[in-house]
Symmetry: C2
């Protein structure tokens, strides 16, 4: 096991009717900015419940945060925070809204050009406090310090991390997810699955707690994911997916083990250039990456196949082949296609995407840092 | 899954040479009281490293905290904290020292008779800050808000919990555990194992993440525990046990699921009356409790047997029998006997222990609250 230092300060408030805790969770006397996206929270009752909870606070709202939240929109929110002397942010929505609010929290008090936070590793020295209401289980952003933001103008999708932007609390009510469109449910399951994979499918370091936890999350997503599509009102199914998605990226399972994240970095470029959903890009890249990296990931591919897909072939090459095909089939079963062509993207995309990776300095990806532009090209060629 | 609210603020600093982080982790300017036990830290180098780290602080020490820390000793430490205006406690040791320091943290600023915290659910409204250096993986106290204290005068072993006594940090260096006596290693493994069981072996609530995490910890302890005895200098083995023991009782795996804790409550009386090690009492009580509660725990006993002990009998009664015997055999393999008689305790102990349970109000134990004094008696009779 590798050394680590881990702390996760977010309070998780999980279950039916937990929105009724909201008023108590926001620090008394806060001047609150509620942030949300396109208004789906106005159709499922969440908006009204949040407004009711905010009755005792001085508050305002900011809507229109995009899926893949844009730098341009978020800077408007940051201006508002400064002008109105907001001191608590309350994102209500999925990963995009919460990621966006984290950037707003940092940008509003950043002394220089806030773009530096994303593009030039500008250090976040302070941030506005935030707490969140999660409506779409997927990214784990509700209890981590990560944020991904897209600058549409330059087609750049970039991220930052800071311990200062962990939400103080996250309210997770699985019933809120009953009304999600199937595409968003499926995307969430695929996203969480790949988050686990990025922290698990590397090379062994004798860390059985982390491995078993990761495998438990993968098994849960494989069992529960398809049920969420076929039984959308099944509370336990929704609850299990929601908890698995949080645990997939609250940092815990990645402590003391190598991490990959190449699938994410390559996928971000596909979203930046072609606008695909984040999870769609992961479903495209991961099976191709598993194939291209089968030598480097050999031992963990075998363990993954045996423990998660319950494969027991004697022939190890065949076992790895089947591990990859089971993974691809799971994404397809969730309704998320796994090849660029399925989204109408032609083979000439490979060059464009490699050029974007180069422009963003993504030259040494993966747990060994050996996925250079040439290897990324080979991965993308396998994803055509 | 049941509703829950969970937050764990402790920073875990894990791995080789992590004691060198200590000086940075204690708030600058703190007036520190280092607390420890019988002096084993003076033989393994930990004391010297801690003293070196404290060079920049105004600090004092308090030694002599017993295994099963005594109310009497801890009240002396609380007096010292008040007299010397200590504002940071640094327990260095195993569960007893850290549990003891938590009680000191609360007792030193408690407005009334501090015994009320343990005996009369006196509410802890404030506490001195603390951080810890763990030298014995077992109890999970390094990242939870629980503490167990014994009053020798009245043979009472009682507990309290408060979010105010979570350590701010816990330094876990597995190399520090190389020199532990085999009995303490074995006790730690058994203790952690039973902590998991108390949060797992109840009844199903469709919570696969929690179940898989619990099973992963149990599998890890079963695999690694015997190796810690046979290969005492194996770093990875020590690291895996240390991390498993923390995860077993940092609260995470118990969120959203029923919990039992009857084995602990009955075991505490055995320690209070006969002075046995905590883990010895758990090894005595658990197999007897599993047998007595086999109907109530039927579904989870089967799942435990299949997933952790890899049993596959068609006959479910035989599968449960073997699940219990495998559990007992594991404790025995670790060198921890599983019957009262093995410790020279005669059958008349049953009456004494039931009387103690009655005196301490332990009348409705277990996940269903149906382990009354009569059932506790039956459990103890099976443990003779």
């Amino acid at each position: 096991m590798l050394n680590f230092s881990y702390q996760n300060p977010t309070r998780i408030v999980f279950g039916k009717d937990q929105l009724n805790q909201l008023a108590k969770l926001i620090p008394a006397g806060s001047k609150v900015l509620m942030l949300y996206g396109g208004g789906s929270i106005k159709h499922n009752g969440v908006y009204d419940q949040v407004v009711a909870a905010l009755a005792g606070f001085d508050w305002q709202e900011f809507s229109g945060i995009e899926p893949n939240p844009s730098f341009e929109t978020l800077m408007k929110a940051a201006d508002l925070v400064r002008e109105q002397k907001i001191d608590f942010l309350l994102p209500v929505g999925g990963g995009s809204v919460i990621d966006g609010a984290k950037f707003v929290a940092a940008a509003a008090v950043y002394p220089g050009d806030a773009w530096d936070i994303l593009a030039n590793r500008g250090k976040v020295e302070s941030a506005i406090a935030l707490g969140c209401v999660l409506t779409l289980p997927a990214t784990g952003t509700e209890s981590n310090g990560n944020s991904v933001v897209t600058r549409y103008e330059t087609q750049q999708k970039l991220s930052f991390s800071s311990s200062l932007v962990y939400p103080q609390f996250a309210i997770l009510d699985p019933t809120v997810t009953f009304s999600l469109p199937p595409r968003q449910v499926a995307n969430g399951v695929v996203d969480a699955f790949v988050h686990v994979i990025e922290q698990y499918l590397t090379y062994p370091v004798n860390a059985p707690v982390q491995d078993r936890f990761a495998e438990g999350l993968l098994q849960t997503l494989v069992e529960q994911g398809p049920k969420a599509l076929s039984e959308p009102d099944n509370y336990d199914v929704r609850a299990n997916i929601m908890w698995a998605a949080t645990m997939a990226l609250n940092g815990l399972i990645g402590q003391g083990v190598p991490q990959d994240w190449a699938t994410h970095m390559i996928g971000h470029e596909i979203t930046a250039v072609y606008g695909l959903d984040h999870a769609q890009t992961l479903a495209i890249v991961l099976p191709a990456l598993m194939q291209q990296q089968r030598a480097q990931k050999r031992e963990k591919l075998l363990q993954f196949g045996r423990r998660v897909w319950q494969l027991s072939h004697q022939d190890e090459e065949r076992l790895i082949d089947d591990t990859i095909s089971h993974t691809r089939a799971f994404f397809e079963q969730m309704g998320v296609p796994t090849r660029l062509a399925d989204y109408g993207i032609a083979a000439d995309a490979v060059d464009k995407l490699v050029a974007k990776l180069q422009a963003n300095g993504m030259l040494k990806l993966g747990e060994h840092g050996d996925i250079d532009l040439d290897v990324s090209r080979q991965i993308l060629q396998k994803a055509v």
